[in-house]
């Protein structure tokens, strides 16, 4: 059976594709170095549309109205620009009520796009552009430590990381967030109250990497303007030891927090990237591998969610679980020495 891999790696090659949701303009070129917050591509779209019914305003047929329309698709108009005129001695005209662009004209109507807005696609990681996908985005490559999480609030930023976690089951409280941490990326434990998020926002911080988050804070977390990356899940969960140890060794290092919002079918995972200079680039890690004895695994479900262990045995066929269910399972030896029978679907390989 294939196992999904949760990447917690001290050094690896990271290649990420960044794409606009719609066609736009790519701002960078191949071999260009980018920072995580650089806008690598952008697209503009219209917030609103105005439909001007020329035929109805002039009281004529759509065909007749078409002869009176003075603009065509693609025209950029200033406010007050003439869109249609009916001619004659007492000529009346229809003028653009706002500045904008003509999206379509015909059948006696004119459709205008107004109120331009931009979608900015940020690099999300520091690295080199290795491929440009015309009008859509880029592929970026870097080398560094990679620590993936389970949930993110959709923001990205980078900065020096300060660890405020001493033990995996620490709780991050607002009193820990003093003014000296302004502009830092904070590594913390469980966040259980809104005051902590507010304190982080008031500093402000440039990112929050936490073990777990109380479920009631999700709406607030989504509203925060700095990235919040949850490593292990919702509810009071200690930080998985693999991430805890790796992140703590990078205290005061420059990190990128790409707290990608979960998109199960199309996106990637939220991740922390800590760039490194190496002589020889390692291979890209596999995203899924067959389960095997000896693999380090992370448990994804209660009662040991977030805990790390190693596969001691893979019994053939179906195993009867303490719940009474029968499923393919592994004997997992936890770091405290306990051995558990865990369904394979509750495991992800760490590597």
């Amino acid at each position: 059976m294939l196992a999904p891999v949760l990447h917690v790696l001290p050094v690896t090659t990271i290649v990420r594709e960044r794409l606009l949701p719609a066609a736009g303009k790519v701002n960078v070129s191949v071999n260009q170095r980018v920072n995580p917050t650089d806008v690598v591509a952008e697209a503009s779209f219209s917030r609103e549309h105005l439909l001007l019914d020329v035929a109805r305003t002039f009281g004529v047929s759509p065909q007749a109205a078409d002869t009176m329309i003075k603009v065509q698709a693609g025209d950029v108009l200033k406010q007050g620009a003439v869109i249609a005129e009916n001619g004659g001695f007492f000529s009346r005209s229809i003028k653009a009520p706002r500045a904008g662009r003509v999206a379509a004209a015909g059948s006696g109507q004119v459709l205008m796009e107004v109120g331009d807005a931009r979608i900015e696609l940020r690099a999300g990681l520091p690295g080199m552009v290795v491929r440009v996908i015309p009008e859509r985005g880029v592929v970026i490559r870097t080398v560094g430590a990679l620590i993936q999480g389970t949930w993110g609030n959709g923001r990205v930023d980078h900065g020096l990381m300060t660890s405020l976690i001493e033990r995996p089951d620490d709780i991050l409280t607002p009193d820990r967030l003093d003014v000296s941490l302004r502009g830092s990326v904070i590594l913390g434990g469980y966040v259980g109250d809104a005051a902590t998020l507010r304190a982080a926002a008031e500093l402000p911080v440039r990112g929050l990497i936490v073990s777990s988050l109380h479920f009631s804070l999700l709406p607030s977390a989504v509203q925060m303007r700095f990235p919040i990356l949850v490593l292990d899940g919702f509810g009071m969960m200690p930080m998985n030891s693999a991430a805890f140890e790796l992140l703590r060794t990078h205290d005061k290092n420059a990190v990128t927090v790409n707290a990608e919002f979960p998109d199960r079918y199309g996106g990637g995972r939220p991740e922390v990237i800590i760039p490194k200079d190496v002589v020889n680039e390692p291979d890209e890690p596999e995203d899924y591998v067959p389960f095997a004895v000896g693999q380090k695994v992370r448990m994804r479900r209660a009662p040991h969610a977030g805990m790390i262990g190693s596969i001691a045995a893979l019994p053939a066929g179906l195993s009867k679980l303490p719940s009474g269910l029968r499923a393919p399972a592994a004997e997992v030896r936890l770091e405290n020495g306990d051995t558990l029978l865990v369904p394979l679907v509750n495991l992800e390989v760490v590597g």
Partner: protein, 583 residues
């Protein structure tokens, strides 16, 4: 092709769910189609796999290991047709329920007529209505246009107007939809189903053909104000949904090609099979099928060959679980638990499970929570669907009408539970009334038979008749107004060997009389205090009942099921029910 060849082909049926992918082999044994085996693997539509084909191959590999036959050949490709050495299969069919919930815009003329039909049509598949437009909508055309664009629809369902009726308002709305499609990026344009005034079909093609992601025109769902006819439109909608999945999910295109286009959304195939059963077995009261898994809870009820199909992604046990509390309060879940547990533990469970839909409960407490949530989700789904069941005027709206048969499937019902646990979950969630048999579809075959029917008419009938589903037995549900513990029914069951068993049933009780599968018995029912045991209030009588894995089950817990207000007593009662069905 000679008929005989078509009738004896082996069929591989693939089900791609959110949590599990199944590969099921049907083949001819002693002249009849049989369910041979099922291979299962975790589904792989989601990250990090992002290709359903990986899970499909894993499931087929598991099937090979079970059957010992070779199905995959060089390059891990399916061998088809079957070879003289016995390897391969002759045909492939598939159903799919995985994928993001389909954002759907519904459009109609009258908010309480065609828009409601559009809403019901959307509920036949894995959709969520994100915007609705109708005549009572006072927004200007350009505001409606922007609302549609902001809704980022995958699907647009257009209804409205009786055949030959008013067309002007409809045409204006069509223009707005056409413009909205035109303004969206080509690869994101929604699939459009038009099921309104048939006289406008030409204009619909003219306005939408070039701009919609795909356009289907079906017969009007409201040919007249009094008549609603969803079936032809739901068939077209099913086809559009498969098209959307081909666009959204890697591997669907390949699987669809392998099936020669015989791929359906799972719930649609379930509904198709229920319609067939309703006709085949000449059901007079109705056939009910429920299916609850990670993608959705779906309910299909067949009444005289007509089917009511409702698909509720919001009640699925996967990624949408974090939103379940928008549809029920926490007490609605806690009431099913024998555990004394902090409500926040349930809330945390819902959020954590939504992150990892495919995970399984490893401990008994975790399992109990999972079952309580499954009960409430299925309860909500059945109650929501029940609103659209034909009302015979006798059944109260919060109680199901009497039915002839219940078939239950889906990961939450069929996988891993003991049959007693499955029985209790179904009795709690569905709360059937009257006298009826109940089947459990442990391998989720019903939708696969529904899609296989389009390839081979004999296969579903013969597989159903071969006992591929597990008969739990006959359920007798008693409706009574009584105090807890008061006698409400005297029962005498006479077995075929002449022996009998007698029982006095008290209100609030759950009783089981053993009657093995394949056996029948005469059951004499004598209600007390005007209780209704399925024969009418206070009416006595004798009926023939069939046995099953659980026997004859008498559910006298009331309809709707009531719990003691005291939590300790409630938990004790639940433990007692669990003990009755075998723990």
């Amino acid at each position: 092709m000679p008929t005989s060849l078509v009738q004896t082909e082996s069929v591989l049926a693939i089900e791609v769910g959110t949590a599990v992918t199944r590969a099921v082999l049907f083949d001819v044994v002693e002249g009849q189609y049989r369910f041979i085996a099922v291979g299962k693997a975790p589904s792989t539509a989601e990250v990090p796999f992002k290709d359903i084909g990986i899970g499909v191959r894993e499931a087929i590999t598991a099937l090979q290991e079970i059957t010992g036959g070779q199905l995959l050949g060089q390059g891990n490709n399916l061998i088809t047709p079957s070879q003289p050495d016995g390897s391969g299969v002759d045909a492939v069919v598939a159903v799919i329920s995985t994928g993001p919930v389909l954002r759907t815009v519904i459009v109609g003329l009258l908010s309480d007529v065609s828009v409601q039909s559009a809403r019901r049509l959307a509920e036949t598949t894995y959709a969520r209505v994100v915007e609705a437009l109708d005549l009572s909508d006072h927004r200007k055309a350009d505001q409606q246009l922007d609302a549609v664009i902001r809704a980022r629809p995958d699907l647009v369902i257009l209804t409205g107007g009786t055949d030959g009726g008013a067309s002007r308002a409809m045409l204006k709305t069509l223009e707005a939809i056409g413009l909205a499609c035109y303004l969206m990026p080509a690869e994101k344009r929604p699939m459009v189903l038009y099921a309104g005034n048939e006289h406008l079909a030409g204009e619909v093609h003219e306005l939408l053909d070039a701009h919609a992601g795909a356009l289907k025109v079906s017969p009007n769902v409201r040919p007249s104000l009094e008549v609603e006819h969803l079936d032809p439109a739901s068939s077209e909608l099913a086809s559009l949904v498969v098209n959307l999945r081909r666009r959204q999910l890697k591997g669907v295109e390949e699987l669809n090609a392998l099936t020669g286009g015989m791929m359906l959304p799972t719930s649609y195939a379930q509904g198709r099979m229920v319609r067939f059963l309703s006709r085949q077995y000449e059901s007079t009261r109705g056939v009910l099928s429920v299916n609850i898994g990670a993608s959705a809870a779906s309910v299909a009820a067949g009444f005289n060959g007509e089917v009511v199909l409702r698909t509720y992604p919001q009640f699925g046990l996967g990624e949408n679980l974090s939103g379940l509390l928008q549809h029920t309060d926490i007490e609605g879940i806690l009431r099913w638990l024998a555990l004394d547990i902090d409500p926040n533990a349930i809330r945390e469970y819902l959020y954590q499970k939504s992150l990892y839909p495919g995970t399984l409960p490893a401990t008994s407490d975790d399992h109990a929570i999972a079952q309580a949530i499954a009960r409430q989700a299925l309860y909500l789904a059945v109650r929501a669907a029940r609103r659209d069941f034909p009302n015979d005027g006798r059944a109260a709206r919060d109680v199901l009408p009497p039915l002839d048969l219940i078939i239950a499937g889906g990961g939450a019902v069929g996988e891993g539970l003991s049959l007693g646990q499955s029985l209790l979950l179904l009795l709690d969630a569905i709360q059937p009334v009257g006298i009826l048999p109940m089947l459990v579809d442990q391998n989720n075959l019903l939708p696969l038979l529904g899609v296989a029917a389009s390839r081979n008419h004999f296969l579903p009938v013969q597989v159903m008749d071969s006992g591929a589903f597990i008969g739990l037995g006959t359920i007798i549900s008693v409706i009574a107004s009584a105090n807890y513990g008061e006698p409400i029914l005297r029962v005498k069951m006479t077995y075929s060997d002449g022996t009998d068993a007698r029982l006095d049933v008290k209100f609030g009780g759950l009783e089981i009389l053993p009657l093995p599968s394949g056996q029948s018995a005469r059951l004499s029912l004598q209600p007390l205090q005007k209780a209704d045991a399925g024969l009418g209030p206070g009416r006595s009588g004798t009926v023939t009942v069939t046995g099953g894995a659980m026997g004859v089950v008498i559910d006298a817990r009331g309809r709707p099921l009531k719990f003691p207000s005291d939590a300790v007593r409630r938990r004790e009662l639940i433990k007692k029910w669990q003990y009755t069905v075998g723990g």
